[in-house]
Each structure stands twice: as structure tokens, then as C-alpha cells.
């Protein structure tokens, strides 16, 4: 139970960070030159309309009053109107977020499933073909921007071979599953709709892979180097000298300590995916939160921009707390130390 008090503590601490973030982004948005109302309505709107909007958005009040109004709205469900959709931002967010979460989760699974075994194999057999392959992959993954990967995947696997769909979440002739979570794959499973499930997985593969390639490279690299490091440690030599088989040493005694740094970086990468999704969703016309955010940014819609940043911040916080729990599970030193600190 103690790890829960730890999580709560972290949560409270992160809440302070998020509050700071909201002030920061709010101040940047309101203090910088340019009239948000004018920006939203365009140069040709009559001054009287602009004035009315200023009044509606409390733009004539001091910044701290505006911030207070905004903060109160956040907790009462009034996130302001997104001017480019003419809807409450909260409704927009809850409409668009599931598609992005689905994409990021799918990418996260692909990442872990590919990177960990690759890194383990590469570290175990340093300078083998697998190791050199991982080295090349890790450089490709780092050096090729995700939007270039996306374009290339679309070009070769979409246009070129028609193996995968080019855009969207689901084929036009497939009825989306009844909404429960908003994640098509999960909803399709819950409602027992294998056709929709297969179709949405099929649509997920290219964008998720484009999103995952960079992190795969990163994690495989971290995993490899920590395996190599642990391979030289006395405890590994000791396990060898006690006659444990290579299989047990690799998949148990090397894997667990090597996962600790890997998972830490993994969490950072996953929480950064919401930003990378901005580009990927644009390319694959994925009707998600990031694409929504980008539209908000391109049309300078302040309410929506602030909300997008805050939601990203919350996701970042959640990812970090989750990783702390996982690392605590993997590393008893951290887990038990936390207990004694409570």
C-alpha cells in the first residue's frame, strides 16, 4: 500500500508543476503582442465584433483575473470555446483524445515488443550481425525524422504496394464500433466486432510504426548498453561460475537489471509522443487530438492551445508516475527506500 502513498505524493507534486505550466502558457498566450480576439476573427471583422469578443473572453481584465476565470472554468468544465470549432474545448478534447491515445498506446506496444528483445540480443552478442543491425537501426531511428519515416512508409507501403491504407482510422465501408472507450480496437473487442478490430489495427500499423521507430532505436540502444554493462559485472560472472545456464542468465538475471534504465527512457519517449503525433496525424490524416491541436495552433485559437498543452502535461505526469511504479517494481532498492522514507 505504501507505493500508493508514494504515487499520491508524486501526483500532488506534479499538480504544482502543472499549475506552474498553466500559468506559464497562459501568460505567454495573453501577454505577447497581438489581440487574441482580433487574431481569432481575422483582419476584416468589424471593431465592434472584436470588442464584444474581448468582453466575452474577459480580455479587458488584468491578466491575473483572466487566469482566475480560466482556472475556475477548468474545474467547472467550462474550458472556453474553441473558436475554430465553435464548441467547448472540453468536448473537443474528449472527442479527439481517444484516437491519439490509441495511436500512442499502439506505438508504445510496438516499441517495447521490438526494442527489448533487440537490445538484449545485441548486448548479449556484441559485434554480431544482430548487434550491427541494431547499431544501424539506432542511427536510422535517431537521424530520420518521424515525419520523413511516415512519408516513406506511406510512399512505399501505401501508394507503392497497397499493403496498408494511406490515411484515416478505419475504412469507409466499415462501420466504427459502438463507442465505449473511443479506442476503436478496444471497442471492437468489447462489442465482439472482429471485422472492425482487424480493420482498425490495419489502419494503425503504419502511423504507429512511424511514431515508434525513433523510440525503438533509442530503447534498443539503451537496453544494449546496459546489457553489455551488466554482462561485465561480478554478479554475472558469479552466476556463470555457479553453473546457471546462459538462457536463465540472459532472460532473467541480465534482463531485469537492464530493463531499469530502458524503462525510464521508454517512459520519457512515450510521454513525448503526443508532440510527435502532431506530425504523424497530419500526414496520415488521423482524426486525433494532435491534429486538433495543430489546427488550433495554426488558427491561433488560444483556449484550445492552452488546453492542448495542459492535456499533454497531464499525460506526461501520468506516464511518469506509471514509470516510477514500474521501476519501483523492478528495482527493490528504490521500492524499499521509498517505504522507509514514508
Amino acid at each position: 500500500m505504501k507505493s500508493w502513498t508514494f504515487a499520491v505524493k508524486r501526483l500532488a507534486y506534479s499538480g504544482v508543476s502543472l499549475l506552474g505550466l498553466s500559468i506559464l502558457i497562459f501568460v505567454i498566450a495573453r501577454v505577447l503582442p497581438g489581440d487574441p480576439a482580433r487574431l481569432a476573427l481575422g483582419p476584416r471583422a468589424p471593431q465592434s465584433v472584436v470588442e464584444a469578443l474581448r468582453l466575452q473572453l474577459h480580455l479587458n481584465d488584468p491578466v491575473y483575473t483572466q487566469y482566475f476565470y480560466w482556472l475556475r472554468g477548468i474545474f467547472t468544465g467550462d474550458w472556453g470555446i474553441a473558436l475554430f470549432t465553435q464548441r467547448n474545448v472540453l468536448i473537443d478534447v474528449s472527442d479527439f483524445l481517444p484516437a491519439t491515445i490509441e495511436l500512442i498506446l499502439f506505438a508504445a506496444i510496438i516499441d517495447l515488443v521490438i526494442a527489448v528483445p533487440l537490445g538484449l540480443a545485441a548486448g548479449r552478442r556484441a559485434n554480431s550481425i544482430v548487434d550491427n543491425g541494431v547499431r544501424v537501426l539506432s542511427y536510422v531511428g535517431i537521424a530520420v525524422p518521424s515525419f520523413v519515416v511516415a512519408i516513406l512508409l506511406q510512399l512505399f507501403l501505401g501508394y507503392g504496394t497497397h499493403l496498408f491504407p494511406l490515411i484515416g482510422r478505419i475504412s469507409q465501408n466499415v462501420v466504427p464500433p459502438t463507442q465505449i472507450t473511443g479506442l476503436y480496437t478496444l471497442d471492437a473487442l468489447l462489442t465482439g466486432n472482429p471485422g472492425a478490430f482487424a480493420d482498425s489495427v490495419w489502419h494503425l500499423i503504419l502511423p504507429a510504426f512511424a511514431l515508434a521507430l525513433g523510440p525503438i532505436a533509442q530503447e534498443a540502444r539503451i537496453m544494449r548498453s546496459s546489457v553489455v554493462e551488466n554482462l561485465d559485472k561480478d554478479f554475472t560472472l558469479s552466476e556463470v561460475s555457479h553453473g546457471l545456464p546462459e538462457r536463465t542468465i540472459t532472460f532473467k538475471y541480465l534482463m531485469k537489471p537492464s530493463l531499469i534504465p530502458t524503462i525510464t527512457i521508454y517512459a520519457l519517449d512515450i510521454s513525448a509522443q503526443i508532440a510527435n503525433a502532431f506530425l504523424i496525424e497530419t500526414i496520415f490524416i488521423w482524426p486525433g487530438f494532435s491534429k486538433y491541436g495543430l489546427n488550433a495552433m495554426l488558427s491561433k485559437d488560444l483556449n484550445a492551445i492552452v488546453a492542448v498543452v495542459m492535456v499533454a502535461g497531464v499525460m506526461f505526469v501520468i506516464a511518469n508516475i506509471l514509470v516510477d511504479l514500474v521501476v519501483g517494481y523492478l528495482d527493490p532498492r528504490i521500492r524499499l527506500q521509498r517505504r522507509t522514507e514514508e
Binding site: 558469479s238 552466476e239 561460475s241 553453473g243 538475471y253
Partner: protein, 319 residues
């Protein structure tokens, strides 16, 4: 046939500066049930020697010559499978630093159960595993075996960790236990306890041991990767024959007084460019011309001792 025989072993490490020629023709042998020690200053090649025997050399190292035979089988040419079998059932090792030698993220139970499981070809039940684990921990003189089993290494003291390491090694060391200075990283009283424990276990179980010093029947004196003297412990300490051993024993402070002992002048030669002949030549008070060019073989001195020094050559060598 000796249990273990090392003949003319040469091991090198590749590093930035070039090749470190660490072991320069090390030979030693060990009979069944015998306790043999290796003494020498730090970095004289003790750890490299024992690691070579266990097949645990680092990646940047290379066996440049010689062989290691265990009951007539060449360990260096053994298949991986056979070597693992040997480690599962016959030989094991205790490392110098007990904190580094236990996997930090597994409990003692997890580690010890696996070692026991793989030390036998039978399938053991969980009760049998537990029984055996408690038995070896008792042999390692650990109180409250159940509490120890559920501990992570970082929850144990250094001395306890080393006892756990010894217990683990005991599972698979039915014939030979190699202990690489198992007490040096602990404080003196704990070190003493650990050494007594090892001695007791080895004598009770009738297994052989190479600890790096103390309580042994026979010792090898190592200097810069060469064996310079060998003989029964008492004789070597009472009448050291090799100039290095003489200086080494004189350098050990005595409780009976007599002032601060003299050290040995000079430095251990670089392994990069070791002297072509005797490796001790740069510090030897009796160095002769021949010592610069030829490496001395081990000459029999007295009934049981041997020393690698031209002083014991029958020929009249020019001084």
C-alpha cells in the same frame, strides 16, 4: 593425476597502450582435497589466474599459451556445454567483493533456488529446494536462513553477503572451490571469520580450494604474472628462497616489534614492456647478467620447495 593442473599459462589483455602481458607462464597444480594458496602484491595476476581457470576472462583478454586441465580434461578447449556442467556440479567460485557478486534486483531466495535447481539433473520440488537452501545457508553459518532468503542483497551486511556467496558456491563446488581474496573488502575481524569458515567447510567436505592466501597446505608466490616460488606454507614462510619472497615476508609488519619493516625498493614492472628475462630483475638485490635475458625456471630447493631464480642454478653464472 592432480585434480587441477595449470601449465605455462600466458594471458594477455589488449588496451589503449598496447598489449598487457599479464600472465607469463604460470604453472600450478592441486591435488584432491588439497588447500593451495597464491600470494603476491595486488595486480600480480592472481585474479587473472583464477578467472582463467573458471573460464571467466574478459572480452579484451586472450590466452596466448599454456593449458588448464581439470581431471585430465582441457578446460580451455572444453565445449560450452561441458564447461557449464563442470560449473554446475564440480567447481565454483567466490568473488572478492561480496556486494558486487550478488545480483542486486533479486532476493537471495530467487538466486539460490536457481543455483540449486541447476546443480542437479533431478527435478526438485519447492520443498526440496527450500531444504537444500537452508542447509547451505547453515553451512555458511548464517542465522535465520528464512529471513536471509527473503532479503535483497542491499539489506545484508558485507560479511553476511560474503557468507551468502560462499553458500551459493558450496551448492556446486563438490570438488573445487576457488576463492579470490574473499575477505579483503571486509574489515579485519569479519575477514578472519570468513577465512575460518572457509577452512572449516573445506576440511569437512573434503573439497579442494584455491584461496588467495591463508590457512593453506601449499602456497604459490606470484610476482608480476609469474610464479616465483612454491612450497609447503610453513617452509615458504620460515625459509623463503626466492629474493622476492624474502623481501615480501620481511615487509610484513610483526606484532613482536622490531620497528617499521623495510619495503621493497622499486616498482612492479609495466605489463606493457615487461623485462625480457626474470620479471623481478629491476628490483632484485642479487640480479645477475643472465637475469636480464633469460626467464629462470623453477629450481628445486631443499626437499619440497622450488624457486624461480638463477641463484639456484648449478652452473657458475657470471654475476
Amino acid at each position: 593425476m592432480p585434480l587441477l593442473e595449470v601449465r605455462d599459462l600466458r594471458v594477455e589483455y589488449r588496451v589503449y597502450e598496447g598489449t598487457l602481458k599479464v600472465l607469463n607462464g604460470v604453472s600450478l597444480s592441486l591435488e584432491r582435497g588439497e588447500k593451495v594458496g597464491i600470494i603476491g602484491e595486488s595486480a600480480c595476476g592472481k585474479t587473472t589466474t583464477v578467472k582463467t581457470i573458471m573460464g571467466l576472462l574478459a572480452k579484451n583478454s586472450k590466452v596466448a599459451g599454456g593449458d588448464v586441465t581439470y581431471k585430465g580434461e582441457d578446460v580451455l578447449k572444453m565445449s560450452k556445454k561441458r564447461l557449464t556442467e563442470l560449473r554446475r556440479k564440480n567447481i565454483s567460485m567466490v568473488f572478492q567483493d561480496p556486494s558486487a557478486a550478488l545480483n542486486p534486483v533479486f532476493t537471495v531466495r530467487q538466486q539460490l533456488y536457481d543455483i540449486i535447481k541447476f546443480s542437479t539433473d533431478e527435478r526438485l520440488t519447492r520443498e526440496e529446494l527450500h531444504e537444500k537452501a537452508v542447509e547451505v545457508l547453515r553451512q555458511g553459518a548464517l542465522p535465520e536462513p528464512d529471513r536471509i532468503l527473503d532479503s535483497y542483497p542491499f539489506q545484508l551486511s558485507g560479511g553476511m553477503k560474503q557468507r551468502v556467496n560462499i553458500s551459493m558456491a558450496l551448492v556446486s563446488a563438490s570438488e573445487l572451490l576457488i576463492a579470490d581474496e574473499p575477505g579483503t573488502s571486509l574489515d579485519v575481524t569479519i575477514e578472519d571469520q570468513i577465512m575460518r569458515l572457509l577452512k572449516k567447510i573445506v576440511e569437512e567436505k573434503g573439497i579442494s580450494i584455491i584461496p588467495v592466501k591463508k590457512f593453506v597446505d601449499r602456497i604459490y608466490v606470484m610476482y608480476a604474472g609469474t610464479i616465483v616460488e612454491e612450497g609447503p606454507t610453513r617452509e615458504v614462510f620460515n625459509s623463503p628462497q626466492h629474493p622476492y619472497t624474502q623481501l615480501l615476508i620481511k615487509a610484513v609488519p610483526k606484532l613482536t616489534g622490531g620497528g617499521i619493516p623495510e619495503g621493497i625498493l622499486g616498482q612492479v614492472p609495466s605489463y606493457l614492456k615487461p623485462p625480457a628475462g626474470c620479471r623481478f630483475v629491476t628490483r632484485c638485490p642479487y640480479a645477475m647478467e643472465v637475469c636480464d635475458t633469460d626467464a629462470p625456471p623453477l629450481y628445486g630447493v631443499g626437499a619440497k620447495q622450488r624457486a624461480a631464480c638463477f641463484l639456484y642454478d648449478e652452473r657458475q653464472l657470471p654475476r
